[in-house]
Point group: C2
Chain length 228, copies 2
Amino acid sequence: MLKILTCIDRVPIFSTLSPASVNKVHSIAHHRHYEVGETVFTTGDAVDYLMVLISGALRLSRTNKNGREQIIRELGPGEFYGELALFAELQAEGDLYAIAATDVCMMERKAMQEVLRDSPQVAWSLLGAMANRLAEAERLIANLSLLDVTERLVAELLRLAETGEATASGVRFTLPITWAQLATKLGTTPESLSRRLKQLNHNGLVTTDGRHVHLLNLKALQDILDDA
Amino acid sequence: MLKILTCIDRVPIFSTLSPASVNKVHSIAHHRHYEVGETVFTTGDAVDYLMVLISGALRLSRTNKNGREQIIRELGPGEFYGELALFAELQAEGDLYAIAATDVCMMERKAMQEVLRDSPQVAWSLLGAMANRLAEAERLIANLSLLDVTERLVAELLRLAETGEATASGVRFTLPITWAQLATKLGTTPESLSRRLKQLNHNGLVTTDGRHVHLLNLKALQDILDDA
DNA sequence: CGAGCTGTTGACTTCCATCAACTGTTGTGG
DNA sequence: CCACAACAGTTGATGGAAGTCAACAGCTCG
């Protein structure tokens, strides 16, 4: 009981539910826990539920025959997967696995459809989340196709810098993932990323110590993007 | 008056509207026409409306400083742009232009929000459309990053083949766009595409005459993808 | 200690974009 | 009606960005 209450409690998209709807969600929600590295599903598995994260993090990625992996999206608390399953039987295209200890709420398709019809607010929340994700996906498409590795790296560093702390000369932050994982997100390899980073360092734009990153010249970094 | 009626009439996502909502949509919808090649907006323009296509086709793309263009998505009748604008002020990231004579309905943000709150059916329709578009975008991400040009070409040819007519030896269809435009969709250049196509031809898998395409060996083509 | 993981560096290779030239077609206006 | 411009597509030559392969250093952990 507690865990199901938690389920609804901690998920923003359900924050506006009426008491009646809360009961309905109660009755259809299944709780599930995943450990780091645990697989939720792999390519080809049937998905017929909407999955909302309570805590932790999941990663959706695809891998080709050469073992090359592309991270498609990452899900944090409050985010969800399975929106397409609300509308049709769905074969997963990609692998979903936990990159942190993760708790999720799983809602079956049909029951969730009812909740959505009764609760425009929830539909509205979903719509907003989807619109943002679509915009992000389309930005990634453009970046992969139009920017070289250096430019994609700089773009990501500047993005991460927004969460960092300002210093006299620039911004300092700690990379939340390994450099190899960042390479996979950016659609490149650890080797290439390492070389590009070395070059930025050589040009006096960035210093790194492990995952600790210091951007020394935000303006110059921004310029790299602007002439892209 | 006629054109506004047409607006709602011919757009599937509004097919379930109640009479009251129909009136509301009437009052907020602006009709607009674009000729081939005409620009709807370019990168950085403010977008504060939802735009639904009645007929024609629009293309959303981004171009980098070298003139390299990536097609992000194409919109046909019934499809829409501006979903993100429903939630926030939005700077367009990319250029939107007409690739056919096009009629659209434009709905201002605030008014559209009301319609959505009152009409769960419309929200549901939008949700379904968005979910599909997101899935498509994520497929494109994976393809751009994991497949080489030949594989992306074959994938697209097989997709197009679904709309073609079967022949003794395979499937025949006509390319709906120029080869150069296809190259842009696939994130490559006309030159590269031409070479890959020549190679497929040489291997006896495909013949072409202008935009007329004949796939001679679906199984072999599918194999190329399966080993990817 | 040794195993395993993260990250780096060097040598090599390959795919593909770019540049340039050329063909064939279409359409337009003098 | 022809000439010429504009565009679609092809082909060859070339260069460069980045992926691959391999070896190695440093770190952590059992």
